[in-house]
Amino acid sequence: MTTDLVSGPVAAILAMALAACFTRVSGYWLMGHVPMTLRVRRMLETLPGAIVVATIVPIVAKAGVPGLVGIAITFAAMLLLRRNEFAAVALGLTAVGLARAAGL
């Protein structure tokens, strides 16, 4: 019935948007209903870095040598260039491109 009112693609896009909204609000909502004990606070403080590392490691492992080179260059650039992330990201991407062009 809804597919008669709005076309299939639009209904699909609306369904995807609802699903995406749910993922964007549910974690925050949930944490409003959990008592903020010291342990929960420590978990939430560890969480950002944990998400970042859990994202980087498997993707880079799958990307092979160019991925490792890119991450290493980015990391080194962040430490050496006074935490200039624009330069670090640009250097990291360039390193990946060069490593791939070199056939690594």
Binding site: T3, G8, P9, A11, A12, I13, L14, A15, M16, A17, L18, A19, A20, T23, R24, V25, S26, G27, Y28, L30, M31, G32, M36, R39, V40, R41, R42, M43, L44, E45, T46, L47, P48, G49, A50, I51, V52, V53, A54, T55, I56, V57, P58, I59, V60, P66, G67, G70, I71, T74, M78, R83, E85, F86, A88, V89, G92, L93, G97, R100
Partner: protein
């Protein structure tokens, strides 16, 4: 670098300069987002979406990885079963947003819900990491999140259009390393999130568990599983 005082953090607030600052903090990511968005536009064209459908999807779904995976499932005509699958795939690929926004609670919690929830709708990997890093260095201005989110949203919508119209120009982001944009940007941000060895133990566990999960399970579950493992470990490690 300012030291954060998590137990007596500054109260969150809104400001106009914060919007601009949030937009500025996304700058290192913009070339990558433009290419990714344009590439997505090209793929959408190949899948038979109309330009209006593409703009609608980028505008209200606003989730690059989830949309990319969803287009793999996308087969017209779209039966109800396919539509449900698309919603489920979107939720699964975006499951990391549940954890990301959970981590924002200590920062944004004191603000009224009617202000926070609309801001959370702008959550993407990039919005979140810009906000998390800003907050980790002692900032409390919630406008950072909105400023970053609005810029990323506008570009995600706009840059898909030339990709759709021009076709193959942007079809291969891997050639420029842009497929690794996310881990590379996250690496740069990780250096800024560094707050001593206690959290590093949790992070290491997160990485190891995520790697194992990526071998054992399909899709993007590794992020959620690894991050939960690392976070729980972090909750049990005492530094006092």
């Amino acid at each position: 670098m300012t030291t954060s005082t998590p137990h007596r953090a500054q109260a969150p607030y809104w400001s106009w300069p914060g919007l601009i600052e949030g937009a500025r903090l996304t700058l290192p990511l913009l070339p990558g987002i433009v290419v990714f968005s344009a590439a997505f536009g090209t793929i959408a064209a190949q899948k038979g979406l109309t330009l209006a459908q593409l703009v609608l999807m980028n505008g209200i779904v606003f989730a690059g990885a989830a949309q990319l995976v969803a287009l793999e499932v996308w087969t017209e005509p779209l039966a109800l079963g396919t539509i449900v699958s698309l919603a489920v795939v979107t939720a699964i690929v975006n499951a990391r947003f549940v954890l990301m926004t959970a981590s924002l609670r200590p920062w944004l919690g004191p603000l009224p819900a009617w202000q926070v929830y609309p801001a959370l709708l702008l959550t993407t990997d990039a919005t979140w990491i810009v906000g998390a890093r800003y907050h980790a260095s002692g900032g409390a201005d919630a406008s950072i999140y909105v400023g970053a989110g609005l810029v990323l949203w506008a570009i995600w919508v706009a840059a898909a259009i030339p990709g759709y119209l021009l076709g193959a120009v942007f079809a291969d982001p891997a050639r420029f390393g842009f497929d690794l944009m996310l881990p590379i940007f996250f690496t740069a941000m990780l250096v800024q999130l560094w707050r001593g060895a206690r959290r590093a133990i949790g992070w290491t566990i997160a990485g190891a568990v995520a790697l194992a999960a990526s071998w054992l399970l399909p899709g993007w579950w590794f992020i959620v599983i690894g991050a939960i493992a690392g976070s729980i470990a972090g909750g049990f490690i005492h530094d006092d």
